[in-house]
């Protein structure tokens, strides 16, 4: 008995092509080889190698000579005939090839996007063993999922878990100002990093980066582009660079810029040693991105299972101390605190938590785009099949003749498959040209930097080659079997009933195509409608006529003087300095209690925003009850203004004058006002409770409400003033309405992508319809001629030709509208605040498809209807 059976299909395939007298010994060799491999490498590898060996056997000396004809000659003639047919039927060829080429180009672009997204973080040498901790907390009904974790975790886990061989942290830093010549310039993408991070990620150093890198508290690393910004092309290692707060940093190394397929792109890494906070042992604040390098072969899921036990020892005591609650009680009341390792390569597509270092992609998009790509391709393949069956009447005679002359069915099939493969190969060639032409736009749109998708890092060429063959075969398989089935006697006698039967399938395919087009048009319309909804929604604050000036902390004490001078200007209504703006990130939250409660079990987690007394009027928020802060009342420093969501959570009938306190503190804070709820997150999230505190020192940027009609003049004015107060400091500004629109960028992009794909879908569907219409008109030429002789008008003929397609379109609408309604309803469910699909939108989408289809069909129909009946009828 054999230990392992060889792959059945591989053997069959070998028997199919291999010369008989060689077969026995070859199979013997292969079996023996299989047994040996099986013992060494297991079932899968040995089976794959078996296949490889069989395929490798496809050599001239081993291949059976066909008894009927010489295979190579057959291929040659098939190819020639294919080319001739393409030339003979130019119109169909052009439509077929262009439709297929556009669809393939579209699929390729999607494939590039997908493969690029899937390749994130795989360029790091250790990528398979690098993991990051995510935190997941439920705390009195507030749930947090974060990409960050506590500071002391790094050392604790490393010492307690033998699987971990290295651990390191990033702590992102706000932009800093570094000296360049006589000025300070703003440097973004700054983070503190542990020296051990370098052992995990193995950054590629251009200069420096040897022993003791980042050990000194005042040392830093620069990326190549940052280094070039400050030092040109010289080697800056050992030099110092000054920051605006006076620190003199010493440069320890320059590393190669990280490729775009990385989940972080820091340009400046400061030594974690220089950051005192990193040494604290607070387990309940999550501010660090913790990374762990695991031993080769260690199972991270096993490590995850050990985490709860370890956490109890570290988190338990802190919980007791801060919230007066034991970890058992904490968990018994339904709360939890979980940490888990996730593979670094999953971060980009699967993580998507709060406090990610950079915005991530999403696996949903990958699925969505792959599906769209496949649909578009399917549409083009359907066109292909439709056209091939439609023109079958024309080729029926050819098939009959060939059969009479002795051609076998399988040679005819081979002939038709060769034709479709030739078409597919030509389309692929065109598609590749299209892809390379559109690549710059693609890069600009997605923010990627892909130069050579076929042979570059993505290395797509094998997929392209294989799929071009597969698509050729798939698209050709139905026509091939359909056409080769013709009975020679019937078709040569001119009886085409067999050809006509396929009408049903053709109709079905047209219905399918238009259903997809309608769904895609509906999807586009819904995405845009949601976008418009977001843009026009009452936000609870006013983004118009607000200018934002950044880096106001550099003014220091001069801030008040700067503001007063601004307010002296008649065109400026108000100005507020703070750290928090609804259009930006940078959040902090904290648990609060009603005054009579204590402990964590009743706490309400709320955003804490420190603002000055001008904040609410400047941003145009509405105080619905009570009053705004007043700087002149000393008591206001112990008072808060809350939003409506917070008021609701607190549950006071009239919250004004009521008190609340921070969990773990006894000081009571009085509520003096309630502002209308305003949006500060995406529309996908419910508005969170929020508490404003009065604190004029927390400022990073200044929002200025102005009346001027000429923002440019205003900018110049503010900049002049800035230069007076902060000479040499960079002046950075933006407008709030622009920032708000940027926040809607994701939906906007989705809208653009959908409108692109839906127009593509409809173009392809119409190409097919166009060809079919012209085919129908051609077929019914004689009928049209007779009708016209008998007095039919052009309009009669056109409407006659269109009525058959109208029926199909109506069915397509009946199928697609409920489906589209359901799918887009699902999409909208993601948004807590959303628009409705609406009957107008549905009617509009359907009317659009009808209109486009009508234009397509009538173009051909008019021609047929206007033709002279004499020309149509005098042939016979």
């Amino acid at each position: 008995m054999m230990d392992v059976q060889p792959p059945k299909w591989a053997d069959r395939f070998l028997e199919l092509f291999c010369k008989g007298y060689l077969l026995e010994e070859i199979q013997g060799d292969l079996y023996e080889h299989l047994q040996k491999n099986y013992e060494k490498r297991g079932r899968l590898i040995s089976a794959l190698m078996y296949w490889f060996q069989v395929l490798n056997f496809l050599r001239p000396f081993a291949i059976k000579k066909s008894q009927n004809s010489n295979i190579t000659i057959m291929f040659k003639y098939n190819f020639l005939i294919a080319i001739r047919n393409l030339k003979k039927q130019r119109f169909y060829s052009v439509i077929n090839i262009s439709g297929l080429a556009i669809a393939i180009a579209c699929c390729l672009i999607i494939a590039i996007f997908v493969k690029d997204e899937l390749n994130y973080d795989k360029h790091f040498e250790n990528h398979k063993n690098i993991y990051r901790i995510s935190s997941h907390m439920l705390f009195n009904g507030n749930e947090f999922r974060m990409a960050q974790s506590p500071a002391p975790m790094k050392d604790a886990f490393k010492s307690d878990l033998p699987e971990i061989i290295e651990s390191g942290r990033f702590r992102t830093h706000v932009p800093i100002l570094l000296q360049k010549g006589d000025y300070f310039v703003k440097q973004e993408n700054v983070a503190f990093a542990d020296a051990s991070i370098l052992n995990i990620f193995k950054l590629q150093f251009i200069h420096g980066g040897g022993e003791n890198t980042l050990d000194n508290p005042e040392s830093l690393l620069l990326s190549r582009s940052a280094s070039e910004k400050y030092f040109g092309f010289e080697n800056p290692v050992g030099q110092s660079i000054k920051s605006s707060d006076g620190t003199l940093y010493q440069i320890d190394g320059v590393y190669e810029d990280l490729p775009h397929q990385t989940h972080f792109h820091f340009d400046v890494l400061l030594s974690m040693e220089g950051y005192e906070h990193s040494k604290n042992t607070v387990w309940l604040s999550n501010n660090y991105s913790n990374y762990f390098l695991l031993k080769d072969g260690a199972d991270y899921q096993e490590v995850n299972e050990k985490l709860p036990e370890i956490l109890k020892t570290y988190v338990g005591p802190r919980l007791q101390e801060m919230a007066q609650i034991s970890i058992e009680d904490f968990e018994a009341s339904g709360n939890f605190l979980k940490y888990k390792l996730i593979p670094m390569t999953d971060i980009h597509l699967h993580s998507n938590l709060g406090a990610e270092i950079e915005a991530n992609g999403s696996m949903d998009n990958i699925y969505l785009f792959s599906a769209v790509g496949l649909f578009i391709l399917l549409l083009a393949c359907i066109n292909f099949m439709n056209l091939a069956t439609a023109k079958s009447a024309g080729r029926a005679k050819e098939v009959g003749m060939r059969k009479v002359m002795g051609s076998r069915k399988r040679f005819l099939i081979a002939q038709f498959l060769t034709e479709s493969t030739v078409i597919s190969l030509i389309s692929f060639a065109l598609a590749i040209v299209l892809v390379y032409l559109t690549l710059p736009y693609f890069n600009a749109f997605t923010g990627k930097n892909i130069v050579d998708p076929l042979f570059g890092v993505l290395n797509l060429w094998p997929y392209v080659l294989i799929s071009s063959l597969v698509i050729g075969l798939l698209a050709g398989i139905y026509p091939a079997f359909f056409l080769s089935r013709f009975q020679p006697i019937a078709v040569l006698k001119g009886n085409l009933s067999t050809g006509m039967k396929s009408g049903k399938l053709r109709n079905l395919l047209v219905i399918f195509q238009f259903s997809i087009s309608i769904i895609m048009i509906m999807a586009t319309a819904v995405v845009y409608k949601q976008l418009r909804y977001s843009q026009n929604k009452r936000l609870g604050y006013n983004t118009e006529q607000v200018m934002i000036v950044d880096n106001t902390y550099t003014l220091g004490e001069g801030l008040e003087a700067f503001r007063n001078e601004l307010l002296n200007d008649s065109e400026i209504e108000n100005a507020t300095a703070s750290f928090f703006l609804p259009t930006r990130g940078g959040r902090s939250d904290y648990p609060f209690n009603r005054e009579e409660n204590s402990g964590a079990e009743h706490a309400i987690s709320a955003q804490v925003w420190q603002v000055d007394d001008r904040y609410i009027p400047t941003l145009g928020m509405e105080v619905v009850s009570g009053r705004n802060f007043d700087d002149s009342r000393a008591i206001d420093t112990a008072s808060v203004v809350i939003n409506q969501s917070m008021a609701k959570r607190l549950g006071y009938e009239d919250p004004i004058g009521k008190k609340l306190k921070r969990v773990s503190e006894e000081n009571k804070i009085t509520i003096i006002g309630v502002v209308e709820d305003f949006y500060f997150d995406s529309f996908k999230q419910k508005i969170m409770p929020l508490v404003f505190f009065l604190n004029s020192d927390a400022n990073y940027s200044m929002a200025i409400r102005y009346k001027s009609d000429d923002p440019l003049e205003l900018v110049a004015k503010v900049e002049n003033l800035w230069q007076e107060h902060a000479p040499g400091q960079p002046f950075e500004y933006s407008f709030m309405d622009q920032e708000y629109r940027a926040k809607l960028e994701e939906e906007r992009r989705l809208g653009t992508i959908f409108s692109f794909f839906s127009s593509l879908a409809i173009v392809i569907a119409c190409l097919g319809l166009f060809a079919l219409a012209s085919f129908t008109a051609e077929q019914r030429r004689k009928e049209i001629g007779i009708r016209k002789v008998l007095g039919a008008t052009v309009g009669n003929v056109v409407s006659m030709l269109f009525s058959s397609f109208s029926k199909l379109l109506t069915i397509a609408i009946l199928v697609s509208v409920p489906l589209g309604y359901y799918l887009m309803g699902k999409w909208l469910e993601e948004f807590v605040y959303r628009t409705e699909i609406g009957i107008g939108l549905i009617i509009g989408s359907c009317a659009l498809v009808f209109l486009i289809a009508w234009i397509t069909v009538s173009a051909q129909s008019f021609q047929a209807a206007r033709s002279n009946p004499a020309d149509n009828l005098n042939h016979e």
């Binding site: 010994e25 023996e32 081993a62």
Partner: protein, 107 residues
Amino acid sequence: MKGSNLGEFEEIVLLIVGIAGEEAYGLAIMELIKEQAGRSTTIGAVHAVLSRLEDKGLLNSKLGGATKERGGRRKRIFEITAAGRRALELSRDLRVNLWEQYAIKTV
């Protein structure tokens, strides 16, 4: 007949057939090539050369016994013909001659 010039890979295969004796069949030859020359090849490539050498008349073959690990199939055992031995000798002589001239030139 393509004459008796041997390609480099043909020469190796021919020599291995000579070394392997009664064990000179496709898979064994492939494994010996791996062992002796450190080259990975495929069964297909080895058989292609064997069949070419047979066409040239440098090898003879006969069907050998069936064994269990071959799924009850017989092997084809190859052996060198006189012409094969002659071709190997010619090839060796040519090389030795060239090596000697090369040695004189470079010393």
